[in-house]
């Protein structure tokens, strides 16, 4: 999750705002899809975007591994707990119906496509560009006093410090291991407890870093989002407009399919 694979495809070069909006539209379309035809359309669109992104299908599937349990669990629930007339068989309270198979199949397809769609966005967009796009998209919320700039700044600083803190955690763990700490054996409880001597110094150091960073930012004239400009300004290109238009057309098509009951 949250990984980025550098590349130079059309999808990589798109404005992050296009990708965020495109994903939102795609998810809405997924939830309006009710029939085989509309699900087929969603699959086709996904395949097309994967193709354009030049990402390998294997990478997308690999990213899904940690979510496998959730996907299987959802499918299982739908499979056996859907009310229906055509019972195939019944064991104890578990009843398998034709309707259940259909709902579970759709649910499974919807989940997989939704996750793949999200991965397509994060895999092709640097995290900093995503927060940037988010800030620009949420800009209208400033009118209702929502701290958009602060929110985006927090996100990007968090992203900036992930590698630094990971490195620090490694260092502290080595230091504690050198003094006889044991992180690998024992019950879950014991292992959890063993992490306390790692977390305490990590937190203290994180607060110290935060203090120093705040001073350094102030020294570089940071005074909030007011009057702040950007070096790299996001500009919507022709491909972004075409991309968004395409997403809207897909949404319109799924709505039409749902309305006509196809």
């Amino acid at each position: 999750m949250g990984q980025y694979f550098p590349g130079d495809s059309v999808i990589h070069r798109m404005d992050p705002r296009t990708k965020i909006l495109g994903l939102v539209i795609y998810i809405v379309a997924l939830f309006t899809a009710k029939s085989y035809a509309s699900y087929g359309l969603m699959l086709l669109v996904l395949a097309l975007v994967i193709r354009l992104s030049t990402l390998r299908l294997k990478m997308l599937l690999k990213g899904m591994k940690p979510l496998l349990l959730v996907i299987i669990f959802t499918a299982f629930l739908n499979l056996f707990f859907t009310e229906g007339e055509h019972v195939v068989f019944q064991v104890w309270k578990l009843r398998l119906t034709i309707e259940g198979v259909r709902t579970a199949g759709f649910m499974l397809a919807r989940l997989v496509m939704l996750i793949m769609g999200s991965f397509l966005m994060t895999y092709t967009t640097p995290p900093m560009a995503l927060t940037d796009g988010m800030e620009r998209l949420l800009n209208p919320l400033k009118k209702i006093k929502f701290p958009v700039h602060e929110f985006a700044m927090m996100m990007s600083i968090a992203l900036r410090f992930i590698p630094t803190l990971v490195e620090e955690t490694d260092k502290i763990m080595s230091a504690q291991k050198a003094r006889g700490a044991d992180f690998e054996t024992g019950s879950l409880m014991q292992r959890g407890k063993a992490l306390i001597p790692v977390l305490v110094p990590l937190f203290i150091s994180a607060f110290r870093r935060a203090d120093e960073l705040a001073v350094a930012m102030e020294s570089r004239c940071y005074h909030g989002g007011q009057g702040r400009t950007r070096m790299n300004v996001l500009v919507m290109q022709r491909r972004d407009k075409l991309g968004l238009l395409f997403c809207l057309l897909v949404l319109a098509a799924t709505i039409a399919l749902a309305v006509f009951g196809l």
């Binding site: 640097p126 995290p127 900093m128 990007s156 600083i157 992203l159 900036r160 590698p163 630094t164 490195e167 870093r209 120093e212 960073l213 001073v215 350094a216 930012m217 102030e218 020294s219 570089r220 004239c221 940071y222 005074h223 009057g227 702040r228 400009t229 950007r230 070096m231 790299n232 300004v233």
Partner: protein, 280 residues
């Protein structure tokens, strides 16, 4: 010409959380720094030198006395941005000065805060990265670079504001010898280009090239002059708990054995020449 930084009877004390009494850190400092000079501030841990540095751009405000930056009072809230763009500051830990995952975006942070148009920010960023010799790394992620390289980027981030003065607060404390040499070379280059440099350091060997050396101990200025003048007084420096450069030490020890050498030779080259002159 106005002094770029001027302190008048500057005192500063802070109150620790449990204690009732205030602890004085700076006890009445008068210091005026002329534009274009390279001033080194030397002092051991707890002498108040870092606290003094933070007074120079209004990060800390005096509890008594005044600090003026290019004639502007740092206690005046409305002038803070104007003050900070004039006096840039580089700190000890390069990691804790970076705000972005991409080198050039980090360097762009200060000019972005100052509200420059994007074309101008681009020019300033490229220029600053070239000055510190990190232009080729502009699209890299800082956490993959060495400590010295990161510190050079932090310097570029300050130079992108085009400050009149840069205060370095122990910039080499966390660097290896190579990184330290690179940072000192940039300081030398900046001084030649006319930027005022204030270098706060506990290492006497970094102060040799300064135009002026200010020694701080227990929150007061105890020595103020050229490095040559100050290090000549070997006993006096040792009485303050500070050492002298190894070169001076060597000449000093030889003098005690009956030689008559000039203690003003600070760099290794100057020292070698002095020895050559006396013995050849």
């Amino acid at each position: 010409m106005t002094n770029i930084i001027e302190t008048q009877d500057l005192t500063y004390s802070y109150q620790p959380e449990e204690a009732e009494e205030q602890i004085p850190v700076l006890k009445g400092l008068n210091l005026a720094i002329k534009p274009g000079t390279f001033v080194a501030v030397l002092g051991h841990n707890g002498s108040g030198k870092s606290t003094l540095a933070k007074q120079f751009n209004g990060i800390l405000l005096p509890t008594g006395g005044k600090v003026y930056v290019d004639g502007r009072d740092t206690a005046d809230d409305r002038l803070l941005i104007e003050i900070r763009r004039r006096v840039g500051m580089v700190f000890q830990n390069p990691d804790n000065q970076m705000v972005s995952n991409i080198v050039e975006e980090d360097v762009a942070f200060a000019p972005e805060n100052l509200g420059y148009p994007s074309e101008e920010i681009r020019i300033r960023v490229d220029e600053a990265l070239r000055v510190v010799g990190m232009y080729e790394y502009r699209t890299h992620a800082p956490h993959l670079l060495s400590g010295g390289q990161k510190q050079r980027i932090a310097i570029a981030g300050v130079l992108a504001m085009a400050p009149q003065c840069v205060v370095f607060d122990e910039p080499t404390a966390m660097l290896d010898p190579k990184g330290r040499a690179a940072v000192m070379a940039i300081i030398e280059q900046m001084r030649q280009e006319g930027t005022t440099v204030v270098l706060i350091t506990p290492h006497m060997d970094e102060t040799g090239r300064a135009d002026r050396l200010v020694v701080i101990s227990e929150g007061v200025i105890v020595r103020d002059g050229t490095p040559q003048e100050i290090f000549r007084d070997v006993e006096g420096m040792r009485a303050l708990g500070l050492d002298v450069p190894e070169t001076t030490d060597l000449l000093y020890e030889l003098n005690r054995e009956g030689c008559n050498l000039n203690l003003g030779a600070l760099t290794v080259e100057e020292c070698a020449e002095e020895l050559f002159r006396a013995f050849a």
